[in-house]
Amino acid sequence: MIPATFVFLYLAAVLYIGVFAFRKARGKQEAEDYFLASRSLGPFVFLFSLFGTNMTAFAILGSSGHAFSNGIVTFGLMASSSGLVIPLTIFFIGTRVWALGKKHGFMTPVQMFRDRWECGHIGTVIFVVQSVLLVPYIIIGIMGGGTTLNVISGGAVPYWFGGAIVALVVMGYVFFGGMRGTAWVNTFQTILFLLFGAIAIIVIGAGMGGFKSAANAMLSAPALAPLLTRERISPYYFFSYTFIPLSAIAFPHILIFCLTAEKMKHFKKTVIFYPLCILAIWLPCVFLGVMANRVTDVPAIKAKQEARRVLATQGKNMSPEQRDELREEAAGDDVIMLLLQRYAPLWLAGLLGAGIMAAVMASDSQILALSTMFTEDVFTFYGHKERFGEGVQVLTGRLFIVLITIVAYAVALRAPETIFELAIQYAFSGFAALSPLLVAAIFWKGSTKWGALASTIWTAATVIAVALFQHAVPAPAPGPSTVFGTIGGWEVLSRTPGGTAVFGFMPVVPMVIVSALLMWSVSLLTNKPKQTTIARYFEDMK
């Protein structure tokens, strides 16, 4: 129960931060203060909160779990590619969106698109697609909170109660603190993440008697040695993953965060330190996930390895349901918690448990972003702000936060977690495919609202198509994929054990490329906005 006590202390601390931010606002009723902290964040809070808001439960639990099953490739797939692409997009797009927000008063991406392309309902279509892709994050955050509290308390806190506590705490500090509270909590959480990685690797390394012997033992075991290389992953798959971080800047909560900086120079530290923050959190988690394969005295880890072995050797003769069950058993999302329970003293496991909790509770900015989008892109756009005033707009935003949390909690209690994990996979590809909209709006005078609509519809259609395909065709056993058509030796479409491949690439590659082509070709064929509108975005046209 000691670890759970630390976690409850942590929850109380973040709730207090939200209330403190509320008092700091001194009863201000302006939408810009509540939703964007009056565009006043300093360099330190801006760096850590922007980074923290992009790190979900996957940063600690999922990364170590993926590395446990797939080996060192996890770091190159998900961390180092993000370390290049995300700061690049913040540098090129984030800074420009910040400047446009200051100039024209935008609070959401859709506001910018509506103004830039002179459109109304097309903006609403983009709002709907963005919202649908964002909701699974909130649900999975509550699910993760319930599961983590249940595991950390040794089963004393039931899943439903843990989920309710996490939902209430997140709702509390977002409701009271708005963007200011969320940014401060994210800063606090990022510091915990960074400490977590360093402490966990020292404690677990010492507990295992050093990593040298574990690494050597893995090298000499034929079943484990491939986890120290990337031989089981195709280079096409590895390359495809570099498209996924394009999603970061297209996520509404990240773009809205870009609007909160007080000065543009605050972006400088964020851009430079972003890759190093990713390195500091992901490298220890990936390494520990790989090394967990050499732990021989934790029965739960042995059971996972056994499930993996059975799936690999007998999977072909099993039904899809049996394979799914074994995949679930072999999943390593809790290996880092198991390692901590085995090697860390009880009090330290509690402290580190709070770090894990911080990762799980990263759905706060998504909730706030949805509320900002609803009140600006729907409530204000359709004239309600003019009618009822700014105070009612902020109140509506707060009520929306309560409503979305209650709905997400109700869904989290009933639906299986795997559905939302899959939805998040699709959401990354979906937001990556929406990134051409931002590039076109900011850098291309010739872009039009019809090009934006074509890209958005393509994104929605392909996300649905991939989801339906993966639902209709069960994942095969580890080994060869199920192939649908070949051209010149290339597999056109295949169902792989981990998802879908198009010409050997992940679906995100054609999704982004075709989205960009649609934006370009449809814009060429359709009418441009007025010259005066374009001139407000491009200096050389004034």
């Binding site: 540098f91 100039k103 574990a214 090298l219 570099t242 851009v271 890759p275 490298l283």
Partner: protein, 79 residues
């Protein structure tokens, strides 16, 4: 010229992410326990931070910063 060199550096670093030369081997094990493929990608993250520093130093969109500052000082003066 500076901008062209930076653009080349960005494309080159993107290409270097695909380190097929360390694909099938864990050796050499750096410090005795870090497979070379993981060590390379760790160093890659440091290189990305260095590239970002170069971009910030030599390609920062100063005109945007100045435009906003000018606009804010104008507004302050009006008030």
């Amino acid at each position: 010229m500076k901008r062209i060199l930076l653009a080349i550096a960005v494309v080159a670093l993107y290409a270097l992410h695909q380190d097929i030369w360390f694909w099938r081997s864990a050796h050499p094990m750096v410090f005795g326990f870090v497979p070379i493929g993981l060590f390379y990608q760790g160093c890659y993250s440091v290189a990305a931070a260095l590239l970002m520093w170069l971009l910030v130093k030599f390609a920062w969109p100063v005109h945007l910063e100045e435009e906003i500052e000018h606009r804010e000082s104008e507004e302050d003066r009006k008030h």
